[in-house]
Each structure stands twice: as structure tokens, then as C-alpha cells.
């Protein structure tokens, strides 16, 4: 057996979903016996089980930390079930646990059976919480400041900073997230330490009343913020992010509006001033 084959078989035994009582399954145990030696205290399966538990607990803990709001909506048990199903279908493909939840919003949209009694609420929250991860340490590019935006022309295009995410939500999950978040200072990978399952704190399960919320998840001075916007401001910013030139973006949002021109101009000036002060714009033609 060459190295690649051995590693495939070991990984398969470790990454297979755990069985009842978080023991490795009989099939995984049999695979372990093919490649691992027993000792005078542990069978081959028991030795591999140490690694299997460490694998699952480490990854479950990472999701547990990154999605406190989703956990509050689904409850500890529901969230644990979701996490195990997600990891079984989409194992990590990144060297960093930072990216572990990157595919969770899309996965949950395809698996409403794991989204609890109100899938729309859960989906809003998971999108918000992944946006939080992006805002925490996502790339930042050169900023177009207020001085760069003194003279706007109809043909101008803009790009948003890669760490800014715009979200049109059906529920005010930003409020809920702030209530349940433990506001950890960030992720901290450990060196060579075996993971044991951390104690799961009971959480109060929350439900929310439906309310349209337009949100920018962004970063200022290394802290993540949720900034609410009204529908017009959001739609215009979203259109600009989509690549429309300024005049096209304004037309797409306000083309059918009966808003007086002066009032519209005032709004636009106010919005652009705010966006520029937040440093959300970067020069067109950049990396993203």
C-alpha cells in the first residue's frame, strides 16, 4: 500500500460520520484494522476513534463559534445535526478553519430540512454570519475617499471593498445576532492539541417577526458593524456593486420614481458622502 492509498483509507475512517454515542462505525473500525496496529490497551478501531472524535469535535466547534445566531434559532441539538450533515456532505477544502462555513449559506438553501421551523429566518442568519466572517478579516483595497468623489460623472463605475457584504433580509437578524453573539475577539487555532468536545451551553431559542431589513456588513477600525439602510440606498449601492454606471444605477432604482429632483440629489449626496466616509468604495479596475 503506497502513502496516498494509506492516507485515503485513514482519512476515510476518520472523516466518516460518527455513530451512536459518537463512536466510530463498524465499517470505519474495520478499515482501521486494515491499516493500524492495536496495542495492549487499545484496538485499532479505538486508536482511530481518538482521531475521528478529534476531527469531528474540532470542526463542530469551529462552526459553533462562527454561527451563534443560527445556533440560537435552531437550538443546540438542531444546530449540531445541521453541522454534522453539512460537514459530511462538504468536508473542509481549505487549509484554514476560517473558511469552514463559507458554503453553509448555499448548502442550507438546498437543505431546508435542516433550517428549522422558519427556513427564511435561518437563511437570513446564516448569510449574515458568513458576512460577519468576511468583514472580520476580508481583504481591503485602496479606498476612494470623499475627496475622490467630489465630482461624480454619469459614466462612473464603482467597486465595493471585498470585506463589505450587502444583504436584503426578511428578518431583523442583525438585532438577534448582537444579542446572542459572544463577541469573541477572533479565531485562535491551537498547535497540536487534541480537541475534546466543548460543553454546549443551553441557548434560549429565538423567533422574530418578519421585517424587511437592508444591511451592509462591514468593518471599521478592525471591528465589524451592521449598518442598516433604507430600500433606495441599498438598491442603488447594490446596483453600483453589480457594475452599473452611476447614471444606469440611478435609473434602475429611481427611473419610475416621482421623487422631486432636488430631493433625489440631496439623498444621493448624503448617501455617497456616507459611503465614502466608511471607505466602502475602491477604484474600478481592481482585483475584485
Amino acid at each position: 500500500m503506497n502513502l496516498l492509498e494509506l492516507q485515503r483509507r485513514m482519512a476515510s475512517a476518520i472523516m466518516a460520520p460518527l455513530g451512536a454515542g459518537d463512536r466510530i462505525t463498524r465499517a470505519a473500525g474495520a478499515e482501521a484494522g486494515e491499516i493500524i496496529t492495536p496495542n495492549d490497551r487499545l484496538t485499532a478501531a479505538e486508536r482511530v476513534e481518538i482521531y475521528a472524535k478529534s476531527y469531528w469535535y474540532r470542526l463542530l466547534d469551529a462552526l459553533y463559534d462562527d454561527f451563534p445566531g443560527l445556533r440560537a434559532i435552531l437550538g443546540v441539538r438542531g444546530f449540531d445535526k445541521l453541522s454534522r450533515a453539512y460537514l459530511a456532505e462538504l468536508p473542509s477544502e481549505s487549509f484554514t478553519l476560517r473558511n469552514l462555513g463559507s458554503r453553509l449559506p448555499e448548502w442550507l438553501a438546498r437543505h431546508p430540512e435542516h433550517a428549522g421551523r422558519n427556513p427564511a429566518l435561518a437563511l437570513d442568519m446564516v448569510r449574515l454570519e458568513w458576512a460577519h466572517v468576511v468583514a472580520f478579516d476580508g481583504a481591503a483595497e485602496e479606498v476612494l475617499g470623499p475627496e475622490d468623489l467630489l465630482e461624480l460623472t454619469p459614466q462612473m463605475t464603482f467597486r465595493l471593498q471585498p470585506y463589505v457584504t450587502l444583504l436584503a433580509l426578511e428578518y431583523p437578524v442583525d438585532d438577534l445576532h448582537l444579542r446572542v453573539s459572544e463577541l469573541a475577539e477572533g479565531r485562535g487555532g491551537a498547535s497540536n492539541a487534541v480537541m475534546r468536545h466543548r460543553e454546549r451551553r443551553a441557548v434560549t431559542r429565538f423567533s422574530l417577526k418578519r421585517e424587511a431589513v437592508y444591511l451592509a456588513v462591514h468593518r471599521m477600525n478592525d471591528s465589524v458593524y451592521f449598518r442598516r439602510m433604507n430600500a433606495g440606498e441599498f438598491q442603488l449601492l447594490d446596483a453600483l456593486r453589480g457594475g452599473l454606471a452611476l447614471s444606469e444605477a440611478i435609473d434602475s432604482v429611481f427611473g419610475a420614481s416621482d421623487l422631486p429632483l432636488d430631493e433625489l440629489r440631496g439623498k444621493l449626496e448624503e448617501w455617497f458622502r456616507g459611503w465614502a466616509q466608511y471607505g466602502w468604495f475602491c477604484p474600478p479596475g481592481g482585483k475584485s
Binding site: 482519512a11 496495542n39 479505538e46 476580508g138 492539541a193 487534541v194
Partner: protein, 282 residues
């Protein structure tokens, strides 16, 4: 041997692993610490708070990078994105040497995020050594590999763990991050004499030493980094220092992390075994 080509000829003394719960204390009290070891992957991000924190640490302290995801022993090629990000970080920290583990952890592009034990075969030794050489050439910094604690052994192994370590470091011409706690943990799990292991280590290649605590269970020991260093591990450390000489030493504490002062005091116990100058903070 306080300084050698595997640690950038750096005579560092006793260091502490930089951990998030200690940030505030460090920034407020600015404790004199010989050096900090950072987990590279925690800072291989594009921007944001992790890098701001790191820059503040770098203003005052010496930093050495310790990685957990290079997986030199994985059969698949090195991850180019990982290497590129790591090189960017190396330039930022100016780490005099860089460490990662003698292990594997990914296969077919899927990551376990664990430090899995190697099969001790000549095939694995050659592949691992070639990847270490490739990484060193790309990163342009000395590399030292750490012996991991382990809980399983493979049928296919052709040699002992320490023979495998020697095979790899000789073929790669790289350094060793000697983790004496890991030797202790593995010696208990696999019933070998830890002193036999230590005596087989090529002293001229040891760039750094790790010490840490662990957890005992009925049938095995887990390397949990959540306790003080126990006496048998200090004895191994003492033996290692007698063989190798003063060596940069780092205490790891990763779970149930106590106050910074408590962790630092635990690390400084190593001074008892080191020749005096090596234990002095800058």
C-alpha cells in the same frame, strides 16, 4: 548550541505562545517576554484585526512562526495558496526560522485540520523531505519540523519514530522542533523509552524545543495543552538541554488558558535547566 543554522543563528531564550485571551494583558502591561510564537495560520488573512494585533506585537516583541497546516507528510503536493500567504507573513514577521509538524492532514484536497501520524516508511520520508525542501526554497527561511504526539501506529511502518525523524531531517537538511511533551505522550501511548528517543535526536539540528501539559486517560494520554508541564516532562527537557545545550524554548498552552502571568511563570520554569544567559528576556 544556542544558535545554529536551523534557527537563523538566533539565540532566543524562553518564549510563550501568543493566544487571544492574553492580548489585552500584553498590550496593557507590556510584559518582558523573550519571544512569542504565533500560529501562522491565525494570521494568514488578508486584513483586519488579526494583522493589526500582530503588527502591535511586532513593534515590541520578537516573533517566531509556528504552522499547523503545511502537512509536509501529505501525499499530495504543497498547497500553493497556503505557501504564498505564508511567505507574505514571513516577510511581515521576519521570523528567523519557521516551524511546522512532521505529519500529514489532508488528502485529495480535503483537510482534517489535525496533525495525523506518519507511517514510518522510506517512501514517506523521501516525499516529506522533498516537500520540506520545496517549502524552504520558496519561503527562503530555515524550517524546523516538530515531532507530533500520536495515538496510532501503522502496519506498514519500517522503522521507529525517531529513526523516521532522522531520515526526514537528514534528507531535507532541515532543523528539528523537539517537542519533549510529545515524546512523553507518544512514549506512553506506544510503550517506548522516551530517553532512547531523545538520545537518537541529532543535537546539531535542534532549532527549538516545545514544552506543554497533557491529559491522562485510563488507556492513553492526550496532548491537550491544558495543564502545567509535569515533572517527567521536565526531566526529559533537562536531559535534552544537557545533550543539546541552551535552546530556544516555548511553552504551549491552548485550552483552559489561565492568566498570562501564570502561563509566563510556567514557561520561565525552563530557566532552571538552561544556562543563565539564554533565559534572559531582551
Amino acid at each position: 548550541m544556542p544558535a545554529n543554522r536551523f534557527n537563523g543563528n538566533s539565540a532566543y531564550g524562553i518564549g510563550v505562545g501568543l493566544r487571544i485571551p492574553h492580548y489585552r494583558h500584553i498590550f496593557e502591561h507590556k510584559p518582558p517576554v523573550g519571544w512569542f510564537e504565533i500560529i501562522s495560520e491565525n494570521f494568514m488573512v488578508d486584513a483586519g484585526r488579526p494583522l493589526s494585533v500582530l503588527d502591535r506585537i511586532l513593534e515590541r516583541y520578537r516573533v517566531v512562526q509556528h504552522g499547523v497546516a503545511m502537512y509536509f507528510g501529505s501525499a499530495e503536493p504543497l498547497n500553493r495558496e497556503h505557501l504564498s500567504r505564508l511567505k507574505k507573513l514571513v516577510k511581515r514577521t521576519k521570523t528567523p526560522w519557521l516551524t511546522d509538524h512532521l505529519c500529514w492532514g489532508s488528502v485529495d484536497g480535503r483537510y482534517t485540520h489535525d496533525l495525523l501520524p506518519m507511517p514510518y516508511t522510506f517512501e514517506a520520508a523521501e516525499l516529506t523531505a522533498s516537500k520540506i525542501r520545496e517549502a524552504r526554497d520558496f519561503l527562503e527561511v530555515p524550517i524546523a519540523v516538530e515531532n507530533v504526539s500520536s495515538y496510532a501506529e501503522f502496519h506498514v511502518s519500517e522503522m521507529t519514530e525517531w529513526q523516521f525523524l532522522n531520515e526526514v531531517v537528514e534528507r531535507a537538511d532541515c532543523g528539528i522542533l523537539l517537542d519533549v511533551n510529545n515524546i512523553y505522550v507518544s512514549s506512553r501511548n506506544h510503550s517506548f523509552d522516551p530517553f532512547e528517543y531523545l538520545n537518537a535526536v541529532p543535537t546539531e539540528r535542534v532549532a527549538q524545543i516545545h514544552i506543554a501539559g497533557h491529559s491522562k486517560f485510563e488507556k492513553y494520554i492526550l496532548d491537550t495543552h491544558d495543564h502545567p508541564v509535569i515533572d517527567p516532562v521536565w526531566k526529559l527537557y533537562d536531559h535534552a538541554i544537557r545533550r543539546i545545550g541552551a535552546t530556544p524554548t516555548l511553552l504551549e498552552w491552548d485550552d483552559r488558558i489561565p492568566s498570562f502571568d501564570e502561563v509566563h511563570a510556567e514557561a520561565l520554569k525552563a530557566a532552571k535547566y538552561l544556562p543563565a544567559p539564554a533565559a534572559v528576556a531582551p
